[in-house]
């Protein structure tokens, strides 16, 4: 009973934050509130026993999305950023309500037909899922059933997911570099004016980064047994690089350039796909790790295969996220 209440509390907080983020006048404040929204979502997911989802939402939603938003609007003028009385702010409210209120009613109606939350006898629990739950650990060697599903049973989806984020990175590259421009880093102008300049923060971040790397690797490797995996690990790794960028003053001062990021971004999916093709070459289906000729027993081979693709995911995600960050952050270079 108590966790139902806690879950509902977090949900309510989410709704409140969402509405607030949309109504606050200062865009920057809105973005921060939006970060809170993501955070409460993650908390909600924890209470709902969705640990991997919570982890990912916290890392990706609360951190990366917020950073991206801030990056994008930091160079806008206050005139644009402050939705004052001069601007309309919104339109056609009655029209939208006309559409949405009936939609709400319909959805409420439909909700009545859905299986009650937590019902163990509902369709999702009696079909497909029990197989994962019962056989997952034995067949794939993973205790974390979500990883088992994500990396093994539905590994192809995960490859697709990696491709999605890769596509986004490439698209960002094309969009921001302007009509005839070069790469985001070519501008010689003012440069990205980050650089906090405080020695305290500088030292603190330097201390933090190695731990972040360690943690990211841990998350990657231990994703089999505990919440985590390639995506989360990649996000943490990317976050550490972005942190350094923020503190040190930008991409040009870093040893890890945009080009490196791009290479990583490409290497990740290639590794993932490569493992898949390797399986093909050894007689199995695409991404069937069991076909890999390793001198281990079948479950362990699958574990290695999973680790391989998760590494691919991590590498790719790190590259892409840093790439997108660089793209968003360097736009004031005057590259057109």
């Amino acid at each position: 009973m108590i966790d139902v209440l806690v879950a509902l509390l977090f949900l309510l907080l989410m709704v409140v934050c969402a509405v607030a983020a949309l109504r606050v006048k200062d865009l920057l404040a809105a973005v921060i509130i939006f970060g809170a929204f993501s955070f409460f979502s993650a908390a909600f997911f924890v209470v709902q026993d969705a640990l991997d989802v919570a982890f990912t939402e916290a890392a990706v939603g609360a951190v990366i999305t917020t950073v991206f938003f801030v990056c994008a609007i930091r160079r806008t003028t206050p005139r644009v950023r402050w939705i004052g009385r001069r601007q309309r702010g919104s339109y056609y409210e009655p029209l939208a309500l006309l559409l949405l209120v009936p939609a709400l009613v319909v959805l409420l109606q439909a909700a009545a037909d859905l299986p009650p939350v937590g019902d163990g006898a509902s369709a999702p629990f009696t079909h497909v899922a029990p197989y994962y739950i019962e056989q997952g650990h034995e067949q794939t060697g993973a205790s974390n059933l979500v990883t088992a599903v994500l990396a093994d049973y539905r590994g192809y989806d995960t490859l697709g997911e990696l491709t999605v984020i890769f596509t986004a990175g490439v698209a960002c590259l094309l969009v921001v570099s302007g009509k005839d421009g070069g790469s985001p880093r070519q501008g010689q102008g003012k440069g990205v004016r980050f650089g906090v300049g405080s020695p305290v923060i500088d030292a603190a971040s330097r201390l933090l980064v190695p731990f972040m790397w360690l943690f990211a690797t841990y998350v990657l490797v231990h994703g089999h047994e505990s919440p985590g995996g390639g995506f989360q690990g990649g996000v943490i790794l990317a976050a550490s690089i972005i942190l350094l960028r923020l503190v040190r003053g930008g991409e040009r001062r870093s040893a890890f350039t945009s080009n490196h990021a791009l290479t990583l971004a490409c290497a990740g999916p290639l590794l993932y796909g490569g493992i898949g093709v390797a399986s093909l070459l050894f007689g199995g289906n695409f991404l069937d790790y069991g076909a890999l000729p390793l001198p281990l027993d079948p479950t362990e081979v699958r574990v290695i295969g999973t680790l391989g693709i998760e590494t691919g995911v991590m590498v790719g995600v790190t590259g892409v996220l840093v790439l997108i960050f660089d793209t968003l952050a360097s736009w004031d270079d005057g590259t057109v």
Binding site: V106, L107, Q109, A110, A111, A112, D113, L114, P115, S122, A123, P124, F125, T126, H127, V128, A129, Y132, D152, Y153, R154, G155, Y156, D157, G160, E161, T163, V164, F166, T167, A168, V170, A171, C172, L173, L174, V175, S177, K179, D180, G181, G182, S183, N259, L262, T263, C266, P269, L270, G273, S279, L280, G284, N285, F286, L287, D288, Y289, G290, A291
Partner: protein
């Protein structure tokens, strides 16, 4: 089996990619697709279990004549557009061109993935890959394109979210996301409003992606401002693949219950409206590309109309129209895009006398235009013929009327252009051009356009064969 797997994997592209891979890869994909289609036609649909896990626990690819046919269409157009985009890309910096190619390949693989997958969630993933790649490509056409693309992004994401949520409802009722499995379990899952909502959400989501009236708002701007090769490919293929997805869901996955029937009849009225609206709006345009975009709205309306009528003839017409229109639209946009720089203004006025300056290109253009109007022996005539048959069979007189009226309307706006091309006096070519004896347009741009025009004609001439060999087998059991 291996062959079919390579087909959607062509998107693995690195940054330092040469232009040539971009052409070769879709060609390879095309070969594989044709092979796969052959197999599907000969021995029935075949299933491929990814990761070695059988469905519904794993994801599977299903290649049947319908999916295989669509894959061939996509791969063919991708190859042609890749060739076409050569000159356009040469004007860009090498790095930018590489990025462009990369996105193009990603788009292609996303679309191919949609046509081949047998899993509804996998479809969503590939849908997003295609969409994101499309956003990037569309936005590279300049500032106005960026605005149009942003709007498209917002609407497209709403559409994808609807689709996902609808899928969620279906999952809640059945516990699976595999298409064949869903087809089996949905009838038993009863229905009630949860099922209806699921159906509606999925249909609306896909409809938005197809630019079905009245959800088409994003399309004209997006098509008008994007760079020519991009429009050529996306206009030809993206809405078709979404239409394919709709067809799959409506006829192969969902049971023929009340919810679906209501959805279909609503769709039919909406489609009819779209056909008329598209044609009328197209008339009002001066910019040729925008006119073509509105024409697409109308043409997709034909397809949806065919789908919603539900009988064999109508579906045949719809499928034939998908094929014919994809080829024809690609040809039209390609022709418009390849006009020499002096006529960069793509409005109707700029076409004056074009037949003298670019005779072959304009011939292809005319051929494709005739197909859209529906004049024999081009493909368009036959697909409309089937649609008409289907409408009459279903006693849907108003729709038959709509078909005829809209054909007349499209005749009007296309003949307007054709007349200018051939009969209007155009500006004399510049002195320097005449002395240099400039060729019409580069072969790279010309070849694909001509090929497409020829294909339009071929489809028309051989449509009987096409129908019996492929399309008949692709139809769902009714």
């Amino acid at each position: 089996m291996v062959a079919a797997m390579v087909v959607p994997l062509v998107g693995r592209v690195s940054a330092r990619l040469a232009r040539d891979i971009t052409v070769v890869a879709p060609a390879v994909a095309l070969g594989c697709a044709v092979m796969a289609l052959r197999v599907a036609l000969d021995s029935g649909p075949w299933h491929y279990h990814l990761g070695g896990w059988a469905p519904p626990w794993g994801i599977e690819y299903v290649v049947d004549p319908l999916g295989g046919g669509m894959a061939v269409l996509v791969a063919l157009l991708a190859t042609l557009v890749a060739i076409y985009s050569g000159p356009y890309l040469r004007a860009l910096s090498p790095r930018r061109a590489a990025v462009f190619n990369s996105l193009f390949l990603l788009l292609t693989s996303g679309l191919l993935g949609i046509t081949l997958t047998g899993d509804l969630f996998n479809l969503y993933v590939f849908l997003e890959i295609s969409s994101l790649a499309a956003y990037g490509l569309l936005a590279s056409g300049g500032e106005r394109a960026v605005v149009a693309t942003f709007r498209y992004l917002l609407i497209g994401t709403i559409a994808a979210s609807f689709y996902l949520l609808g899928l969620g409802y279906l999952y809640a009722l059945t516990g699976t996301v595999n298409m064949a499995d869903l087809a089996m379990r949905l009838p038993a899952a009863g229905g009630g409003s949860a099922m209806t909502v699921g159906v509606v959400l999925i249909v609306v989501g896909l409809a938005i992606k197809m630019a079905v009236f009245p959800l088409h708002g994003w399309m004209p701007d997006a098509y008008t401002y994007a760079p020519p090769p991009v429009t050529m490919f996306i206009a030809a293929v993206m809405s078709k693949v979404s239409a394919y997805a709709l067809l799959r869901v409506l006829f192969f996955v969902l049971p023929p219950t009340g919810a679906v029937e209501t959805a279909l009849s609503v769709l039919s009225w909406v489609a009819a409206g779209g056909v008329l609206a598209g044609s009328v709006l197209a008339l009002a345009q001066t910019d040729v590309r925008r006119m073509l975009a509105y024409s697409s709205v109308g043409q997709m309306g034909y397809v949806v109309l065919g789908l919603s009528l539900g009988n064999a003839a109508a579906l045949t017409g719809a499928l034939l129209h998908i094929t014919g229109h994809a080829v024809a639209k690609a040809c039209l946009f390609g022709a418009v895009g390849s006009l020499p720089r002096e006529t960069a203004q793509a409005d109707v006025a700029g076409f004056a006398g074009a037949s003298r300056r670019a005779p072959l290109t304009m011939a292809a253009f005319t051929l494709a235009a005739l197909s859209l109007v529906g004049i024999p022996p081009t493909a368009g005539f036959f697909s409309k013929w089937y649609l008409l048959q289907g409408a009459l069979e279903a006693d849907a007189w108003p729709f038959a009327a709509v078909l005829l009226v809209s054909s007349l309307l499209s005749a009007v706006y296309f003949f307007r252009i054709i007349e200018r091309i051939y009969f209007a006096a155009g500006p004399a070519p510049a002195e320097s051009d005449r002395s240099r004896r400039r060729p019409e347009v580069s072969l790279r741009s010309l070849g694909p356009v001509l090929t497409l025009g020829a294909v339009v004609l071929l489809i028309g001439l051989f449509n009987g064969r096409l129908v019996t060999a492929v399309i008949r087998h692709a139809l769902p059991e009714l």
